[in-house]
Amino acid sequence: MPGVPLNPGSESRSMDQIIDINTRFGPIPTAPSDWLLDDLVAMMRAHHVAVACTLSTVGMLLDETAGNAATRAACLEDRRLLPVATLNPMHYFRDESPVARLVADGFRMVRFFPALQGWSGGFAPFLHVCEEMAAVGLPIMVETPQPGIASAIVRDMSDYAAPVILSQVRQEGLTEAIALMQRHEHVCVETSDMVSMGAIGLVARHVGADRIVFGSGAPSRPVAGVLSVLQHAGLDAADQHKVLAGNARRILGL
């Protein structure tokens, strides 16, 4: 199948346009090894990923202010990295208006980690965050590792004007993700956990390739993993290019 670069050095130049919407870097003692920024950049180079949306693990695990600062600093150092912020509703008191500052600082998206941080859809502080987010219209991405999380989050964001990207969608969560996408035009999925046989093709058949965004989970996971799965997804070249870059470009306003 043309267009999908699997092996470093074998890619066509046209693949320099890949946009990876799901990468992270930084210390993560719960994982077998830390996620190094240098490794991420090397993987991007090896697979001709032109742009990676990334954020520091510090914001996800402990302190979003420090984490967002680390993300911004890393992205200022390397313009191929697009800064993604995170907010933890557990720390949100409505008196600091962090969202406007994130926009001013150049963040292109905001990620949420409800299962990791111990909150869920319907959580009142998250509703306050949603209200503030609605004013700026940044895309958001939410980790949904277990069935039910996505439904609850999308219920809170059913009127949100910008895209809501479901992340960590595993095979057990595919029916939920597809059902949500069928009901809500602004809901999309990213691919980093869609590595089951036929998963990407299934989503494309039900809601179209326009709603699938390439994410790898690098540097903890190989970029080649999802690229290989995409090769076997049964998409034509035009749809592959949408998944690899076009959809992300539209969502991120690049």
Partner: protein, 246 residues
């Protein structure tokens, strides 16, 4: 590079494209350039050890690239031993797996002992599912108690793959099968600890596409020679599979 996938399921996927028959499995192997595969029957894992393994045997008879792993179940020792006696002697049945009551639960050695005693005479590898550290610990106890058996840690400990590597370092009859988490550094760490001889490729398809699992090996930074050992040589020696005719 020649690939032998030591861990592919017949049925059991939740998606529409689940390979539940020989033709679908064969097509999936062909598309991903997998030369041979060891199949496990989801029906045997989740429903009935005897009937499920019989279904598997019927599938194996239709395709020379397919080999089988008889699945037994700690809660069904009688049916499990019957399945062993009926099926394990077949040359295409190259291994036996013991399943616990749930996917994440360890196999308790004492509970599994009746099945293990019945199995030991076949001198074929034993598969134990190790999706987490608790399962690795229980599987290690079995490997220690049966040093004459070659024990394959299927899933390599999942996110706790360092525990599987540590166990394999201590127990020379343990082999690590590469499915589980797609963590980019686990194979390099495993090879540094064990050498390249006791690591075998497995995908867990259809739950994880074999293409993604293969990409993990190819992205590991290991030499072509080591990759060839993981993809084919080690497993072919372990289960005595001959090079496939494609």
């Amino acid at each position: 590079m020649r690939i032998l996938d030591m861990h592919t399921w017949l049925g059991g996927g939740v998606l529409g494209s689940r390979p539940a028959n020989r033709a679908a499995v064969a097509q999936a192997l062909k598309d991903r350039r997998v030369c041979a595969s060891v199949l496990l029957a989801a029906h045997a894992r989740h429903i009935d050890p005897l009937a499920g393994n019989r279904i598997l045997r019927a599938v194996l008879e239709q395709d020379s690239r397919l080999y089988g792993c008889v699945i037994t179940h700690v809660n069904r020792p009688d049916a499990s031993v019957a399945a062993l006696r009926e099926l394990m002697g077949a040359s295409r049945m190259v291994a036996m797996a013991i399943a616990a009551p749930s996917l994440e639960a360890p196999v308790n050695r004492a509970v599994a002992d009746e099945i293990l005693q019945a199995f030991r005479r076949y001198t074929k590898p034993l598969y134990l599912f190790t999706p987490n550290a608790a399962c690795v610990a229980a599987a290690s106890e079995i490997a220690r108690a049966y040093p004459m058996l070659k024990v394959v840690f299927v899933g390599m400990g999942g996110y706790d793959w360092r525990s599987a590597v540590a166990a394999a370092h201590q127990l020379t009859n343990v082999y690590l099968e590469t499915s589980g988490t797609l963590h980019v550094s686990k194979l390099r760490v495993a090879v540094e600890s064990l050498g390249p001889h006791r690591i075998v490729f497995g995908s867990g398809a259809p739950h994880v596409d074999a293409a993604a699992a293969a990409a993990l090996v190819e992205s590991s930074g290991l030499s072509q020679d080591v990759q060839a050992r993981i993809f084919w040589d080690n497993a072919a020696r372990l289960v005595e599979v001959q090079p496939a005719n494609e």
